[in-house]
């Protein structure tokens, strides 16, 4: 089986995997980073969202062979200590219910804020509409994104050097 060297959350990791193995299963089963979730395996739920060079991407739809040198950021790498404004806002707004979709929601939202620091509700809806939540936490997701955007504006944070330094988009 071919070996691949990936950069995941800033660490270089080498794994052996069949070339069609989706990045999702590399992350979850070979690297044991279980924060990134499997929901549908078909590009329909976004529970599997990670950042590839800052772009929000469906990890279930990307074979490992296609990752190349792109830097992978998972929920575990978003911040070392839940200090990302979105994580803080998620806690403040008590967003999660079962919580299963939430890593994917937060990773999508992080890519949105990196591109659109002060999104309108419509922009939030438009960006987040492919992230499914069976527990119906959407009202609070919207509030939490607004809260994080406001907190960032207050703190005038604009120079994070982690996953959001590049222009992101939905992959």
């Amino acid at each position: 089986m071919p070996a691949y060297t990936l950069t995941v959350n800033g660490e270089r990791r080498t794994v052996e995997a069949a070339e069609d193995t989706p990045l999702l299963w590399v992350i979850r089963d070979l690297l044991n980073l279980t924060g990134t979730k499997y929901g549908c395996g078909a590009g329909l739920c976004r529970a599997c969202t990670v950042h590839l060079d800052g772009e929000a991407s469906f990890s279930c739809q990307i074979p490992i062979a296609a990752v190349g040198a792109k830097r992978v950021t998972t929920i575990e790498g978003l911040s070392p200590d839940r200090s990302h404004p979105l994580q803080q806002a998620w806690i403040e707004e008590d967003v999660p219910q079962c919580g299963y979709c939430q890593p994917g929601q937060i990773m999508s939202a992080a890519a949105l804020l990196a591109r659109t620091p002060a999104p309108s509700d419509d922009q939030i809806d438009d960006w987040m509409k492919t992230n499914l939540c069976r527990c119906g936490t959407y009202n609070r997701i919207r509030s939490a994104i607004q809260r994080a955007a406001a907190a960032r504006a207050d703190a005038k944070v604009g120079t994070r050097s982690d996953a959001h330094d590049e222009e992101p988009s939905h992959g």
């Binding site: 044991n32 575990e76 998620w90 299963y100 939540c133 069976r134």
Partner: protein
């Protein structure tokens, strides 16, 4: 057989027995695993610690074996905490750990039950941690999470457990100081002796307190002294849910663990004829392929290898015996049965009232409701390990004791040799009350002699059956000369949950099929309700709000149809016919005023309202709806008013209402499991859409809690939303919606 998790017949767990009944002593081998720590972390540490409270509250009570075990544990330094009772232990650092024998599936039970414990224990909320208990029938009774019962069934038991612990800690301090216990009091994690100003932290007292005899009837705090109950505290499980560290079933990593998938017959009732595993076994990482009762198991080193091997499997299935079955055929079977039902409720004389009303003032209608999938975002899964000492499970289940029974039955061992670690549940909604995924995991782990995680793919999960039942209603109603409804006739035909689950029915009536109809609250003089069972080859299960999920829709929509026939305003008519139900009227009035009934709406918008009682709570909801150019309904705003009696955690109530409403809205707009040519063809979220953020309305929830008996929270939000939407559409278009889902609109982009 599935664990009965439903409400009405489910006896409350004997949760107050924990202080008096000794626990069953588990085998030493199982005990040692109490201290097992599984470390699967790479980079970011993922530690799943299943540290167990000692199985015996008081060592002596559990016999010498348990005492010996505890001594051994102490010798190895593995006894960090003092267990005050089955629900509470105190760590040396003063933190308090609550062991909760109810499953956290999003409803916040790890928080709300911990609030009850902490309230009586007198400890700062910041000191509280909460985790699932290890299932133990002798200690906690049957562990079922369902019927919106968790808080209301066990409310007092949890408070008593907290109060017992507090009393023991005070007693331990009094003993240390040689003063009367009455002169000491508990105060935020310490005991104080006011006269001398002395103070000791709980952590210093816990070991001694754990050895004292618990009081028979501990004094509970008066309501006026509550400092936690009724407050909007933050959930305890949130931090782990925003950084990826929360452990759901699929996140369990046991050393040496394999991953399995199960290929099942494509046809309903199909059987395995033969299979050839050669090509599958040639896929790198595939370890074994063999038959289990539900199909063919593919066991591999990880998910993708199992999936790749599965694609290479050559299987021949015998066709199922239901080749012509589809949704339309099922509808016909229900329609054929609908006149043959047994009477459920008879009041007045329907035939005479219909005759005197005449055809102009009589209305007949057929209402159909479809199979629904739970579609939890985490698909079904279970991790099992089988060895000489017994079996260990790591599983997101609503019914750990039923899971233990299922494993024990397969293995031919007593259920107390099955240790069940309940992980977080990525959604439940009733689905995880069944143990099909546990059975699969145990069958496979038994053969593999290694821990195995069975994963249902999304497709497996959706096709696995256990749906909300389908059915038909033949409705007839009539209004009098003034337009007031005077006849309500409802003939129901639906697949019986109770029969399928092997539960006893009362007088041949499935209470789950008629809930909300049998007790229809409207003052209508002539009522006839009947129910007929329809046997279908599709398995069914409890689905959020059970019978009320369809009956709330049928009754509240047909009520609006009758109002239209009689020229009555639906809100005014409800209030008029609910005069003897002041709680119903109260939620209706509040919802209508918050939603702005009677005020002008944007052009093309209409309001609908519905009220329904289930699980001891009464909920009114309004929906403001418009239609897109292509006919897609758009729900803009929902107002929800819930009367659930006493409230422990108001934010939890609001969030559960939002959740129930969103799930009910998805079902109303798009929910239907499709069957074609004897097969389930709904396999993923493209064919089974659930609401997205841009399709979810603004939801405003108001709670009425005025000390009435505590009602359920997890389910009652769901029933009123479908009729509120349909009633708004009726107001908008003049056309009733008599079949769900409302519109199958392709909306996934």
């Amino acid at each position: 057989m599935a664990e009965p998790i439903d409400h009405a017949n489910a006896a409350p767990a004997p949760a107050d027995a924990q202080t008096t009944r000794p626990a069953t002593a588990a085998s030493p081998d199982l005990r040692r695993r109490d201290f097992l720590q599984i470390s699967g972390g790479v980079g970011i540490g993922l530690i799943v610690a299943f540290a167990l409270p000692f199985a015996a509250t008081r060592e002596a009570a559990a016999g010498p074996e348990a005492a010996g075990d505890a001594a051994a544990a102490r010798a190895t330094g593995a006894m960090p905490a003092s267990e005050l009772n089955a629900f509470l232990r105190i760590e040396p650092d003063g933190s308090v750990v609550c062991s909760i024998p109810k499953s956290e599936m999003g409803q916040g039970v790890l928080t709300s039950l911990a609030m009850l414990l902490a309230e009586e224990l007198e400890v700062d909320w910041s000191k509280i941690r909460s985790e699932h208990a290890i299932a133990n029938e002798a200690r906690y009774g049957r562990w079922r999470t369902g019927g919106s019962s968790s808080v209301r069934e066990t409310h007092d038991a949890y408070r008593r457990a907290g109060a017992t612990a507090r009393t023991l800690l005070v007693a331990a301090a009094a003993e240390r100081w040689q003063v009367a216990a009455e002169t000491c009091r508990a105060d935020r994690g310490t005991v104080v002796h006011a006269a001398s100003g002395r103070r000791l932290a709980y952590a210093e007292l816990a070991e001694r307190a754990a050895k004292l005899s618990p009081p028979a009837e501990p004094a509970l705090k008066p309501r006026s002294k509550f400092s936690l109950i009724g407050k909007d505290l933050r959930r305890l499980d949130t931090p782990a849910k925003v950084d990826g560290s929360a452990v759901f079933g699929l996140d369990v990593r046991v050393p040496g663990m394999l991953v399995a998938q199960v290929e099942r017959p494509p046809d309903l009732g199909g059987q395995l004829a033969s299979f050839d595993a050669k090509a599958a076994l040639a896929v790198p990482g595939v370890v074994a392929v063999f038959e289990i009762p539900r199909g063919v198991a593919i066991v591999a080193k990880h998910f993708w290898a199992a999936q790749s091997g599965r694609k290479k499997l050559a299987i021949r299935w015998t066709p199922g015996p239901h080749g012509a079955l589809d949704n339309e055929a099922i509808r016909k079977l229900c329609t054929a049965a609908v006149e043959k039902g047994a009477p459920v409720r008879t009041e007045g004389d329907v035939a005479r009232a219909v005759a005197s009303a005449g055809p102009k003032r009589t209305l007949e209608a057929v209402y159909d409701f479809p199979f629904l999938a739970h579609a939890t975002l985490e698909p079904m899964n279970c991790t099992a390990k089988v060895d000489a000492s017994g079996c260990e499970l790591w599983v997101p289940t609503q019914s750990p004791t039923a899971a233990a029974d299922a494993a024990a039955k397969i293995l031919g061992i007593p259920a107390d040799r099955v240790r069940v670690n309940t992980t977080l549940l990525g959604g439940g909604f009733g689905r995880r009350g069944d143990s099909d995924f546990v059975e699969d995991a145990v069958h496979i782990a038994k053969q593999m002699k290694a821990p195995v995680q069975v994963v249902y793919t999304r497709e497996d999960d959706m096709r696995a059956g256990l749906y909300r039942p389908t059915g038909t209603n033949l409705m007839r109603g009539a209004v009098d000369a003034e337009g007031w409804p005077v006849v309500w006739e409802q003939r129901i035909a639906s697949q019986s949950l109770l029969r399928e689950k092997g539960w006893p029915t009362k007088d041949g009536i499935d209470f789950a099929a008629v809930e909300g109809v049998k007790n229809l609250p409207y003052a209508i003089p002539n009522v006839f309700v009947s129910w007929a069972d329809v046997v279908l080859p599709v398995s069914i299960h409890w689905w959020r709000s059970v019978g009320s999920s369809q009956n709330g829709w049928v009754t509240e929509c047909f009520f609006d149809e009758l109002c239209r026939l009689g020229g009555k305003d639906p809100l005014a008519a409800r209030k008029h016919l609910l005069k003897d139900h002041p709680r119903h009227v109260r939620v209706l009035e509040k919802a209508a005023s918050e939603a702005g009934f009677g005020k002008p709406l944007p052009k093309g918008h209409a309001l609908g309202i519905a009220v329904h009682e289930s699980f001891g709570s009464i909920v009114a909801e309004t929906a403001e709806v418009s239609l897109d150019a292509d006919g897609t309904p758009r729900v803009h705003r929902v107002v929800c008013v819930v009367d659930c009696g006493e409230v422990v955690h108001p934010a939890g109530v609001r969030h559960q209402m939002e959740s129930g409403i969103t799930m009910g809205l998805s079902a109303a707009l798009w929910g239907e499991v499709a069957i074609e040519k004897g097969r389930i063809v709904t396999t993923n979220y493209d064919r089974y859409p659930i609401a997205r953020i841009d399709q979810t309305p603004r939801i405003e929830t108001f709670i009425i809690a005025e000390g009435d008996a505590m009602g359920g929270i997890g389910e009652p939000g769901t029933p009123p939303i479908a009729p509120a939407i349909c009633n708004a559409l009726l107001a908008l278009t003049g056309k009733p919606i008599r079949r769900l889902p409302i519109g199958r609109v392709t909306h996934m982009t």
